[in-house]
């Protein structure tokens, strides 16, 4: 398992980028955690529908996005808000989706990020198709798809990996192995020793990295991205991390896992180790911390406000995006709908 930054902030080998970028990404992780904790809190207040927290997975997501170009595709899941945001998806739309608003799935035109996949496993093939579309159209854009350990059990994972390798498309498969698929631990999902070695079945390189290590994740994704962009085909990356929270706000992890495990992983926090590293390089202090936390708080608060101030879809508007133009039967149903709401 590749590691560049130990839980106590020690460097293994060389840092993949400079202190300035490290600070930027540290700040991004703080933003991500702020968003995530706010998401949990808002759900408890009934202001969001079910929420799937990613606390503990910030390095995997922020590190991966940092290795991409701004117009590379990201195809991710319900637990990937940090990754999606880092690639341009606005916080307010991520919140909007969680309030139960379709417009949360509609990022601005220039953002190359698909709405989050709620089905497990079905979205990876889409990234393969996107990467292939770029290849066929002669651009150098690539695609990164993110998914969980549990998703690797789905048949669509297999088909996606196979197609990507066969057509040598520029697709990065980023598995955030967070130890659990709801209540099923990693060991009971599959018998392979690692997820990374599943790449062998597709003749594809597989890399296992410490997923709580910003540097290692960045480096692995950068390596894969360079390969993908230069026509070298896909890569599977297993980022070993941990889901510190419940699966979602509807879940009670105490039914199936030992709280000691959670504590153990809290000690491997992905943000804290970067903080120590920065601090040791004289690039972190309490003041800056307070400043970025305040910024984060403000930005997230603004995002919530934006999301919550969106008026709901008007009567009949739920039908308006079924087709480019509504066919007659939907026109008729739309009239009936509007009538029925009076």
């Amino acid at each position: 398992m590749r590691q560049r930054l130990t839980p106590s902030g020690g460097l293994v080998g060389e840092a993949p980028f400079d202190i300035q970028l490290t600070r930027r990404l540290y700040r991004a992780m703080v933003f991500a955690r702020t968003y995530d904790r706010k998401g949990m809190a808002l759900q408890k207040q009934g202001r969001l529908a079910t929420y799937a927290p990613f606390e503990g997975q910030e390095a995997a997501q922020i590190g991966a996005a940092a290795a991409l170009e701004p117009n590379d595709w990201v195809v991710a899941t319900y637990r990937d808000a940090a990754l999606m945001w880092a690639q341009g998806y606005p916080w307010e739309l991520l919140f909007a989706g969680r309030t139960g608003d379709e417009r949360g799935g509609s990022p601005p035109e220039h953002v190359p990020v698909m709405p989050p996949s709620i089905t497990v496993g079905g979205h990876m093939v889409h990234a393969v198709g996107l990467a292939w579309a770029e290849k066929l159209q002669g651009t150098d854009r690539i695609a990164l798809t993110s998914f969980g350990d549990g998703a690797t059990s789905e048949g669509d994972f297999h088909e996606a990996m196979n197609f990507a390798a066969v057509y040598e498309v520029g697709c990065i498969f980023l598995c955030q192995n967070n130890g659990w698929a709801i209540s099923l631990p990693r060991e009971r999902q599959t018998k392979s020793a690692t997820i990374a070695e599943k790449a062998i079945a597709y003749g594809m390189p597989g890399i296992q990295v410490d997923g709580n290590d910003l540097f290692a994740v960045y480096e692995a994704v950068k390596e894969a991205a360079d390969r993908a962009r230069s026509g070298g085909g896909p890569t599977l990356i297993e980022a070993v991390t941990y889901r510190r929270g419940p699966h979602t706000t509807s879940d009670d992890p105490n039914r199936y896992r030992d709280p000691a495990e959670v504590e153990e992983w809290a000690r491997r926090d992905p943000i804290e180790r970067v903080r120590i590293y920065l601090s040791e390089h004289g690039a972190w202090d309490d003041e800056w911390q307070a400043a970025i936390e305040a910024e984060a708080q403000a930005e997230i608060d603004r995002a919530i406000e934006l999301a919550e101030s969106m008026p709901p879809l008007g009567p009949g508007e739920i039908l308006d995006a079924m087709f480019e133009t509504l066919p007659p039967h939907l026109e008729a149903q739309r009239r009936e709908l509007v009538e029925g709401l009076r």
Binding site: E154, S183, I318, Q333, G340
Partner: protein
């Protein structure tokens, strides 16, 4: 007698099933230690062991295909798919294998198994979590398709499904899991698959529904009664076999029919019922057969759910329309 929610009644049925026959087993995502995302299998892994209540990898086609093999091999699997929206990856196994092995092998091999699928909307769930695809399974020859709307029926139909020599798709209306309580007998009892239930007799119009929409349909009947309209209410309960007799008898009497379901309208099971009425009750019909259904759209997210689901008002309006016709 104990008064139970549908969730508890289903849990009880599974308990009784596991108790009675050592070949019965439960499998699915998170059905074991955590008792299922809706807690329908709560406590059963502890009671019967993890070899009889089995957590599976996240792989719906595998769950159903492996359950099929287990059934052919002599077990009686009750497989849970977490939500109807996640039954689609298993669709090939269900339609190409589960539903066909008896015919393919001319009775030599059979797949007595139950596929439990929480379904329907109304709880503000995420995308894919509010599907009503019952018509798709009803259109698949070789499957029985059952939908309870009361705790009593839920337990009795589930035990009938477990005892059935053929595969049963058992649709559980999520919105009803904890919506109502009623008396549920202890131990084993069966509710016959293939029989509708005339829940309320009436003379003026027949309201036909199933699953969670029974809530609105009942309320609509109440509302109509307040205005002096006597509505007969039929809970279909079993889409396959469909109790055409119960429906045609009622519509022949009332001369008017309103069918209510939350699935999209086009080619929904309501169409089958309307077609049955159009074939068998034409001379008794005094008004067009109306359907009050979900729209031909994706099930909307929380904020717009109310725009989609048939409301009491829409049902009442449709019934009135048949009466004015």
């Amino acid at each position: 007698m104990r008064v139970l929610t549908m969730a508890k009644a289903l849990n009880d049925a599974l308990d009784v099933g596991l108790e009675k026959d050592s070949h019965v087993m439960i499998m699915g995502e998170d059905v074991g230690r955590t008792g299922g995302v809706f807690r329908i299998t709560d406590g059963l892994a502890e009671k019967y062991g993890e070899h009889r209540v089995v957590d599976t990898p996240v792989a719906e086609s595998g769950i159903i295909g492996v359950a099929f093999g287990l059934a052919v091999g002599g077990m009686r699997p009750v497989a849970e798919l977490q939500f109807m929206g996640f039954s689609y990856p298993a669709f090939d196994q269900i339609i190409s294998h589960v539903s066909r092995i008896r015919n393919r092998s001319q009775h030599r091999f059979t797949a007595p198994m139950v596929i439990r699928i929480p379904y329907g909307g109304g709880i503000g769930a995420a995308e894919h979590h509010s599907e009503s695809a019952e018509a798709i399974y009803a259109h698949t020859p070789g499957l029985k398709v059952v939908v309870p709307s009361t705790p009593y029926d839920a337990k009795g139909l589930l035990l009938a499904a477990i005892a059935d020599p053929d595969p049963v798709v058992f649709c559980e209306p999520i919105r009803l899991y904890r919506a109502v309580k009623e008396e549920v007998p202890e131990g084993w009892y069966e509710v016959e698959i293939g029989r509708a239930r005339v829940e309320r007799e009436g003379a003026d119009v027949t309201l036909i529904s199933w699953g969670a929409m029974m809530l609105e349909t009942r309320k609509a009947a109440d509302r109509l009664a307040d205005d002096g309209v006597s509505a007969e209410v039929i809970d279909v309960r079993s889409l396959v076999p469909f109790d055409a007799e119960a429906v045609t008898a009622s519509v022949s009497k009332t001369g008017r029919a309103v069918i209510v379901h939350e699935a999209p309208r086009t080619a929904g099971f309501g169409a089958e019922i309307a077609a049955t009425i159009a074939e068998h009750c034409l001379y008794s019909l005094e008004a067009p057969v109306l359907r009050v259904t979900g729209w031909d759209s994706v099930f909307p997210l929380k904020r717009s759910e109310h725009q989609y689901l048939p409301s009491v008002e829409r049902i009442v309006a449709a019934a009135r329309k048949t009466l004015e016709a």
